[in-house]
Amino acid sequence: MALKRNVSLATALRYKGQGPMLTYFLHRFSGLGMAIFITIHILASFVGGKSGVFVNSIYENWLFQIFIFFCVMFHAINGMRITIQDLWPKAIKYEREAIWVEWVIFLPLYLISVLVILRTAMGV
C-alpha cells in the first residue's frame, strides 16, 4: 500500500518544529554529507593514481575539514541522544532539554576543533 500524505508542500514548509525539527534536519543533512563524501573518499583511495590523489587532496583542505567535522561531530552527538532516548523511552519526555544539553556539549567541542583546524591551515 502506498503512503498517503494529507499535507501539502506549502504546509510542510510552514511547519515550525523548533529545536527537535532542527536536529532532525541537521542529522539527516550530516548523515547524507558523510555518506556521499566517505563514498567518494573510499572510491578515490581505490582508484588511486593522479585522480585519486587529487580527490583526496580536496579532503585535506581546511574548508572541507570544517564541513566534514561538523557532519561527524553533530551526527555522533545527536545520534547518542537519539540512541539514549530510544533505548530508554522515559527520556523522550525531556527531549527539548536533552537537545539543549546536546548543543552545550557540541558547540564548545566543534568551535575548539574549528579553531585548531584554522590555526593549522594558517600555519600558526
Binding site: 548523515g31 555518506a35 573510499i42 581505490f46 575539514q65 555522533a76 540512541t83 530510544d86 585548531v116 593549522t120
Partner: protein, 143 residues
C-alpha cells in the same frame, strides 16, 4: 484508509525486518563509538602522543588504516599496518557501511511512497552496500 502500524498494540507489531534494522541502527551507533574509542586508545599506546598531532589521531580513530598516519612522524609503520588493525578497520567498515546505507534507505523512503520505487531503492542499496564493503576491504587490506 489502511490501519497505520502505530495504531497496533506492541505485541501485534511483532519483529519484522524494519524493527530489526531500527534496533541495528542504534546498536551499530554504539558499536562505532566503541571502535573509535578503541582506535584512539590504540594510537596512544603505540606512541601517538609524541608522534602525531590531534587531528591525525582523530583521522586514525575514525578509520584505523595505515594510510591515515603516513603524513605524521610515526616511526614504525609495521605496528600500525598490522593484521590486528586491519581486522579492526574491517569491522568498523562493515558496521559503518551497513549503518550508512540503511540511513540512505530511510531517507529515500521519506520521498518515495510507491511500493515499486521502494523495492528498486532496496535492490540498489544492497548492491551498493556489497560493492562498498568489497572495495573498502580491498583498500584496507592492500594498503
Amino acid at each position: 484508509m489502511a490501519v497505520k502500524s502505530r495504531n497496533l498494540s506492541l505485541n501485534k507489531r511483532g519483529l519484522n525486518f524494519e524493527m530489526l534494522m531500527w534496533i541495528f541502527t542504534r546498536l551499530s551507533a554504539l558499536a562505532m563509538y566503541a571502535f573509535i574509542l578503541f582506535g584512539l586508545i590504540g594510537a596512544l599506546i603505540m606512541g601517538a602522543r609524541t608522534q602525531m598531532n590531534f587531528a591525525d589521531i582523530m583521522r586514525w580513530a575514525f578509520m584505523p588504516n595505515v594510510t591515515h598516519v603516513q603524513n605524521t612522524n610515526v616511526s614504525n609503520f609495521a605496528l600500525w599496518a598490522s593484521p590486528f588493525w586491519k581486522v579492526i578497520a574491517s569491522g568498523l567498515l562493515l558496521v559503518a557501511v551497513a549503518h550508512g546505507v540503511h540511513g540512505l534507505v530511510v531517507i529515500a523512503d521519506d520521498y518515495l511512497a510507491a511500493p515499486r520505487a521502494r523495492q528498486i531503492v532496496r535492490i540498489i542499496s544492497i548492491v551498493f552496500m556489497l560493492a562498498m564493503i568489497v572495495i573498502g576491504a580491498y583498500v584496507i587490506w592492500s594498503s
